[in-house]
């Protein structure tokens, strides 16, 4: 192995500019003459628009739905049967369905002036009763978010299992009601769009912070009835996405339309309040879940009614069906049991649409399932990890098809958990618990284990009937005339370090010096079509494509090199950036120079296809890769304040073959930090009128350096049998495990008091109320 190829912890190419503050984000583009846009957003959760009054002096700079009559609404359909469609107009037309919905847009030389104009626009609403709670939304007399539906259910998924067969006889039965919070994704950079119309070329350029440039291109073209080719989407450096930038946002369509309409470049940068209250919501679930087990804690059956609060509209391209579909299919986790019943509904409410956040639905299902595993363990009187060990899929069962027909591709799940138990040192913790803490805090330890399906392909996603289904992933690898390597991919890094890892892949195959390999991404004008970066797919898919293209390029270069060496093409190979024959070698630079600049030195028939390869790749099986991880948390709960401190945190992760272990560690640690936020801090509560109550960082808490402990990441490495190098998707798992591990740890601490908590986030108030309720029910003072 080269020290810069596959498996090497190479320093990231992009960090030179990131660490020096020289990244180029949307807001860094200075487009001369650009106007600024501010939106008028709905102040009511549910209402009919009677009138939008624009003062005369602002005619021509304020635009409403009437102006956008020819713009198509965002329709994220799926062909799943029973799915009820929602059309989200770019600017609200007759009705508003959540606080923050776009009603009008105002253009001015500066953002402050645009906001001044927005202040003068008076919207007259006939207020309607809002649907705020997802469970109340299903009651017969609930108001309707979309009247034509007849109810508030986007879609419901069923998994039918014969629970009755075991329900009666099961020695242990535990049921829990679990709620996860509506939270926000909160990447460091929000959304932002610069739109510019070139009247000469009839060409629209959108500079936008997106994970999927081509999907935005497709969506904008469709809404504005333009051809794809007349929309260029540039996604420059992107400061975190986590799913929030994996969709078409109405602002992108609105700005695109506006640029054409006013004939000037226009810019909108999302502010923190827009982000928190009107845009980036995610993760709100409810579970009523029951586990049945025998007296040894062996899980016999799982029964669940799950609800996802999907908000008012279906987002493009993932649709509002995604999250509930994930819940129903992923809930069984890494466990081996055969009777499973689940009903998972995506419910519409008068809140902003929820979007697919890192580890879509998984942090919730992992929490629900692991809370049940702990409850079973307590009833059975067995250590929680031991109950898990008794139920995990064993290595000798691999490859394994689970109860929802997920194809686990390999690994040793029990060993992962055993390593986590050893690393956190469970016996020492149990001893320490018996002795008690000098400061009166209560110690607790918790475990979670899950598998993470990544890089799902056609086989999985076609069934979901989405408008955008990934197939072959393309990469273009080019030898330049001076022998450098240029890679073009349609996936887009928003912090993952693809400029480094994809270069490592090409370096592994071509051996070209690492510094002479350049990865280009984020411009529909020069990268091949892609559905973008999401679902932990980029290294598996784009990495696989780069490997494939590099090999094809190596073949072409070998033929030219063999001619230059006057050797038999079958006897040369590409090593360390050279075509090497028996006795001599030529560099790829010499090969390139010969083909591009000195063709007279080559026979005319040599390599008409050139030194640029674009090819597609998909894994031998595209049912998705299954990485997996065990998380272990040691916490101290302060019974006087309800605060939780994480004292130790261990992740044992198996992501198959790691291209750059250092980057994977970063992914795991960053994800874990987000998972800690999900568990302890983050929530956007709503009042009874559907008003979001956390619209600034004063009210919306995200974990900072002092809330995230040193996360110890241990690796196992079971290569996937289906992918290039054995890679597996690993981008999301970090965010999946923490809520379950931390909740289980807190409950381990509280169980002596007879208290249990599981609604997220675990606020001090929730913990203290649970303790108080437990002491009341035990008759203590």
């Amino acid at each position: 192995m080269s020290d810069q190829g596959v498996g090497a912890s190479v320093l990231r190419k992009e960090d030179d500019r990131f660490l020096r503050g020289r990244g180029q984000y949307v807001a860094d583009f200075r487009v001369s003459g650009a106007r600024e846009v501010a939106f008028v957003r709905s102040t009511v959760a549910h209402g009919r628009i009677r009138n939008v009054h624009v003062p005369d002096e602002h005619n021509g700079v304020v635009f409403t739905a009437a102006d956008l009559a020819n713009v198509k609404p965002v329709r994220a359909a799926t062909t799943l049967s029973g799915f009820k469609h929602s059309s989200e107009p770019i600017l609200a037309k007759d009705k508003v369905r959540y606080v923050g919905e776009l009603v009008a847009m105002c253009v001015a030389p500066s953002r402050a002036q645009a906001e001044d104009i927005a202040d003068t626009v008076a919207v007259d609403y006939e207020e309607l009763e809002p649907v705020v709670d997802m469970l109340a939304a299903r009651e017969a007399d609930a108001p309707l978010v979309h009247e034509e539906w007849g109810d508030n259910v986007f879609i419901e998924f069923f998994q039918d299992g014969a629970i009755e067969r075991v329900a009666e006889a099961a020695a242990i039965k535990v049921t829990r009601d679990i709620r996860t919070a509506r939270q926000c994704m909160f990447p460091m950079e929000g959304r932002g769009v610069v739109a510019q119309w070139d009247a000469r070329l009839r060409f629209l350029t959108l500079i936008t912070a997106t994970q999927m440039p081509h999907v935005v291109q497709r969506g904008v073209a469709e809404c504005l009835s333009l051809s794809d080719g007349s929309v260029r989407v540039i996604s420059p450096d992107v400061g975190g996405g986590f799913g929030y930038k994996g969709l078409l946002c109405r602002e992108e369509v609105a700005l695109a339309w506006l640029a054409i309409r006013v004939g000037m470049p226009v810019r909108w940068l999302e502010d923190c309040r827009e982000h928190l209250s009107a845009s980036a919501n995610c993760r709100e679930h409810h579970y009523r879940i029951t586990g049945y087990a025998d007296r040894n804690g062996r899980l016999l059956a799982l029964d669940c009614a799950a609800t996802v609060d999907a908000g008012a509209y279906s987002v493009y391209p993932t649709s509002s069906a995604l999250e509930a579909a994930q819940v129903a299919s992923l809930l069984p986790g890494p466990y081996d049991f055969s009777i499973y019943r689940c009903r998972a509904a995506a419910v519409a409410t008068n809140k902003c649409p929820i979007l697919p956040y890192r580890g879509v639905a998984r942090s919730g299902v992992c929490l629900a399932l692991e809370v049940i595993m702990d409850a079973l363990a307590r009833q059975a009187g067995i250590e929680p990890y031991e109950v898990r060990l008794r139920n995990l899929v064993r290595p000798e069962q691999m490859p394994f098809e689970n109860v929802t027909k997920k194809q686990f591709d390999g690994g040793d799940y029990p060993e992962s958990l055993r390593r986590a138990v050893a690393a956190i040192d469970l016996p020492a913790i149990r001893k320490r618990q018996r002795n008690g803490e000098p400061d009166g805090r209560l110690l607790g330890v918790g475990f979670s284990i899950f598998c993470e399906q990544g890089a799902m392909g056609t086989a999985v996603l076609a069934d979901w009937g989405r408008p955008v289904v990934p197939g072959y992933e393309q990469a273009s690898v080019r030898l330049t005339a001076d022998g450098d390597v240029e890679i073009r991919v349609g996936t887009h890094s928003h912090g993952q370090g693809h400029e480094t890892t994809l270069a490592q892949v090409a370096h592994e195959i071509l051996g070209t010096e690492f510094d002479r390999i350049k990865v280009l991404q984020g411009d529909t004008l020069y990268v091949p079509f892609s559905t973008g970066t999401w679902a932990s797919r980029s290294m598996v898919m784009a990495g696989g494509a780069v490997a494939q293209a590099s090999r094809m390029l190596a073949k072409r270069a070998s033929r030219i090199g063999a001619w230059l060496l006057q050797a038999d093409p079958a006897e040369v190979r590409v090593v360390k950036g050279c075509v090497v024959g028996r006795a001599a070698s030529v560099t790829l630079g010499e090969v390139a120079r010969a083909w591009y600049l000195q063709p007279q030195n080559l026979p005319p028939e040599l390599e008409e296809s050139g030194l640029e390869v674009t090819t597609g790749y998909r894994p031998a099986r595209d049912m998705g890769t299954f990485s997996y991880a065990s998380h272990a948390a040691l916490v101290a709960v302060d019974p006087g304040t309800g605060l939780v401190e994480i004292l130790d945190y261990v992740v044992v992760e198996d992501g198959g073959k790691l291209i750059n272990p250092m980057i994977v560690d970063g992914q795991v640690q960053g994800g874990t930090a987000q998972g800690i936020g999900t568990c302890l801090l983050e929530a956007v509560p709503f009042d009874a009128n559907g008003q979001p109550l956390a619209s600034t960082m004063l009210d919306y808490l995200v974990p900072g350096a002092s809330e995230v402990p040193d996360i110890r990441v241990l690796h196992m490495e079971t290569p996937s049998p289906h992918t290039e190098f054995g890679m597996k998707g690993i981008g999301e798992g970090g965010a999946v495990g923490p809520p379950a591990a931390i909740v289980c740890a807190v409950n381990d601490a509280l169980c002596a008091l007879g208290a249990e908590v599981h609604d997220l986030p675990l606020t001090p108030e929730r913990i203290l109320n649970a303790v108080a309720a437990a002491s009341t029910s035990r008759g203590a003072p």
């Binding site: 402050a112 906001e115 001044d116 309800g642 302890l680 002092s706 001090p764």
Partner: protein, 276 residues
């Protein structure tokens, strides 16, 4: 999130500042560090016609220590206090409290006077200064009046300051040599506003035992004589346990979350610090 239009004036003297305030008849806002006002302007929750920057006024950055106490100008920043540019041997609590306020960037600009005038119940200076029996020195440009901090604060985000008055300084009485202070706040994350806080001054020599609960829904809850909570002036090393009946009586009707239990914890821990 950009502010609505406003005028801006930089006042060089107390007189100049007061004149501008009077002329604006209530539509002006005073700005010092701007750490709370800035966001309020950006959110358009505050829409003053004019902002008056008072930081150039010499009296407001004045510090004076005498045998009776310490006078800290209103525009002294939290970092000034944290870094010991305001020194008082008998009040090491000030630097300790300062170091725990928000983040360094906020402390570099945020002022002690601004914090008091903003009167956010969750702020740090209010409960601490109440415990220390500090006074506000208020000026109308000609005369000054002195008012105890707990009376200066009328409620959440509300102070008793006339249109043409400024908070000039804070005066903290000098405690005795043996006096001890304690301050404990409960935050969900470092640097955030407190969920609950407690501040205690225990001055055995002067028989003074003041306790304050902060981060309430309104004004801090000041307990002039904390003996009713803790029995008597406790001895060093004694375990701190709040008197249950007195605590319940104190918390009754305060509307604090979880029946004020977190506030009671904060106060007990502040007392424990003072007695350690």
């Amino acid at each position: 999130m950009k502010p609505a239009r406003f005028e801006f004036a930089r006042a060089r003297s107390l007189g100049e500042a007061v004149t501008i305030l009077r002329q604006a008849s209530g539509s002006a806002k005073v700005i010092a560090g701007g750490q709370s006002l800035g966001p309020m302007l950006n959110l358009r929750l505050a829409r003053p016609s004019i902002l008056v920057d008072i930081t150039p006024i010499p009296e407001l950055t004045h510090i004076e220590e005498d045998t009776d106490g310490l006078v800290i100008g209103a525009c002294i920043t939290t970092s000034d206090i944290e870094d010991g540019r305001v020194r008082m041997d008998r009040l090491p609590i000030l630097a300790a409290v300062a170091a725990g306020i928000a983040y360094r960037a906020v402390r570099n600009r945020g002022t002690i006077g601004g914090s008091i005038c903003h009167a956010d119940p969750s702020g740090d200076w209010l409960p601490v200064l109440c415990a220390l029996a500090a006074e506000c020195i208020v000026t109308d440009g000609k005369q000054t009046r002195r008012v105890p901090v707990e009376q200066f604060v009328a409620g959440a985000f509300e102070v008793r300051l006339e249109t043409a008055e400024l908070l000039q300084a804070i005066r903290i009485p000098r405690p005795s040599r043996s006096a001890r202070c304690g301050y404990y706040k409960v935050c969900r994350k470092a640097g955030e506003f407190a969920l609950a806080s407690g501040a205690v001054l225990l001055d055995r020599e002067r028989e003074r035992f003041r306790a304050v609960m902060g981060a309430t829904q309104g004004r801090p809850i000041v307990i002039e004589d904390a003996r009713r909570l803790l029995g008597a002036i406790p001895q060093r090393g004694m375990a701190v346990r709040l008197h249950e009946e007195a605590t319940n009586e104190l918390l009754q009707g305060t509307g604090l979350p979880v029946n004020g239990r977190v506030h009671a914890t904060a106060l007990a821990r502040a007392a424990a610090q003072a007695m350690a």
